[in-house]
């Protein structure tokens, strides 16, 4: 793990690695998502209480899981930036933030579309919903901070600190359903004892979750590659400007 992370610290090596891996992972994501969508829409039976709306869950649950996963990834990258000065940690955090914000938004929207027929309202100020909304706001704050600071080094370190401070929210989201016991149902897949979901609904959910996760990894690698290239272009432009200034003067 440490070996591979230090090995990939060289951006060129990382670009080669990403270039080699992305097509395979993209293919895998397409297969998993294709199979998952087929299973969710044509194979899974309607739930005996929720009816057809249960299918929204196959999008909602993986989005919500990735929303938190992306934030944890940003926080760990923040540690990498501040402690080990890993040159790609900052790139990884910056690339993950918009993707994580998108998945958080997806989770909020699909949740509220499901909430209208099931709970009778698009939105309730339930602990789980509220903490997810706070997570979305944290993502927006992180993105705004990156946009506001021009020098990439300082932006990366400042965002890392903010990400670590905001990480307090992650356990609150995870355990909100247990602590406050409100409208949102408690954990039903990963829990002590067996999952409380019937296997006919669990299988498509797991396939979709895997598909979403691989999709996230692909998007993250592409965004990291774009960010590295963007920084190279910036560096090239700066040297060009410096040269022009030298020869022009």
């Amino acid at each position: 793990m440490t070996f591979s992370l230090t090995h990939l610290a060289n951006p060129t090596r990382f670009l080669n690695f990403a270039g080699a891996v992305i097509p395979w992972l993209a293919g895998l994501a397409a297969i998993l998502l294709g199979a998952g969508l087929y299973l969710s829409f044509f194979v899974a039976p309607p739930d005996y209480q929720q009816g057809e709306t249960v299918r929204i869950m196959f999008i909602h649950v993986p989005s919500a899981w990735l929303a938190m996963f992306a934030y944890v990834l940003i926080a760990i990258s923040g540690l990498g930036t501040l402690i080990w000065r890993h040159p790609l940690a900052d790139v990884s955090a910056k690339a993950a933030a918009p993707i994580g914000a998108t998945f958080t938004f997806l989770a909020l929207v699909t949740g509220s579309l499901w909430g209208k027929p099931m709970w009778g309202t698009y939105w309730v100020w339930d602990a789980r919903l509220t903490s997810m909304l706070v997570l979305f706001l944290l993502y927006l704050g992180l993105i705004a901070l990156w946009q506001a600071i021009e020098e990439p080094g300082r932006a990366g370190r400042a965002a890392a600190i903010l990400a670590l401070v905001g990480a307090v929210n992650i356990p609150i989201i995870k355990f909100s359903v247990n602590w406050w016991n409100t409208l949102h149902q408690p954990a039903s897949v990963i829990r002590a004892g067996a999952p409380t979901i019937d296997s006919s609904l669990l299988t498509p959910l797991v396939v979709m979750a895997l598909g979403f996760t691989v999709l996230f990894v692909v998007l993250h690698l592409i965004a990291m590659r774009a960010e590295i290239l963007r920084r190279r272009v910036r560096a090239l432009q700066q040297t060009q400007v410096a040269q022009a200034a030298l020869t022009g003067a």
């Binding site: 706001l137 704050g141 705004a144 901070l145 600071i149 080094g153 600190i161 903010l162 401070v165 905001g166």
Partner: protein, 222 residues
């Protein structure tokens, strides 16, 4: 310790002698509370029910008005450079300046709150509890604002960005602050459990936030 006290005394004196700064925050607090009944309607029962929440939200906004100045003036004139190189550890500098912000902004706001509570028909017997809860909860407000102020140091439109970064972090303070006062206004339940949570949040942020603020200050100076 003497150096930290001197720093606090200096910041407090500057804030009071600068003029306007404290008055603006108090005036802002008054105006926000005064326009709320125009939006909500003058129903006194409704107002007394929403009063704890309104008073807390307006207090957070008023405290944020001056938050970007926790480090800003010293950053502009170079004092902060000297402080980073001085013998005082940077987290202690951050803590002293956040504490000075608490003394000069949050304490006056908390002391103004009873008057505004009367405007909102807050039951009079709950007012001591309101002030107590605000005094106990606002250290967290100032110290977390210190993190935001150090992250946005020297940026354009830093005040707006500061609010976007910091307000989501105020949610726990708001929840426990409001539920302390609400428990006394409408019941049921005792106000003390949320009050103790509020104290815990304040104490934790007084210890942890200066470390984050100091780290953020170092990034601004590299």
């Amino acid at each position: 310790m003497t150096a930290a006290l001197a720093l606090i005394r200096r910041d407090v004196a500057l804030a009071f002698r600068e003029g306007g700064a404290i008055g603006v925050a108090l005036g802002f607090y008054l105006v926000v509370i005064a326009i709320a009944p125009f939006g909500l309607g003058p129903d006194l029962n409704l107002l007394s029910r929403v009063a704890p929440g309104l008073l807390w939200v307006a207090l957070l906004l008023a405290a944020l008005l001056s938050a970007d100045r926790i480090f800003h003036n010293d950053y502009e004139d170079g004092t902060l450079d000297v402080l980073t190189m001085g013998p005082l550890p940077l987290p202690v500098v951050a803590a002293s300046k956040s504490l000075a912000h608490w003394i000069t902004t949050c304490v006056p706001l908390a002391l103004l709150a009873p008057v505004l509570g009367l405007l909102l028909n807050l039951p009079i017997h709950t007012i001591p509890l309101l002030v107590l809860a605000m005094l106990a909860g606002t250290p967290a407000v100032s110290f977390i604002a210190g993190i935001g102020a150090s992250l946005t140091l020297g940026l354009r439109r830093s005040g707006l960005l500061l609010a976007l970064l910091v307000l989501p972090l105020y949610v726990p303070v708001l929840i426990f602050g409001v539920s302390t006062v609400s428990a006394a206004v409408t019941g049921p339940g005792s106000p003390w459990p949320p009050f103790l949570m509020l104290c815990a949040i304040s104490l934790a942020s007084m210890v942890l936030a200066p470390l984050a603020a100091a780290a953020a200050l170092r990034t601004a100076f590299r």
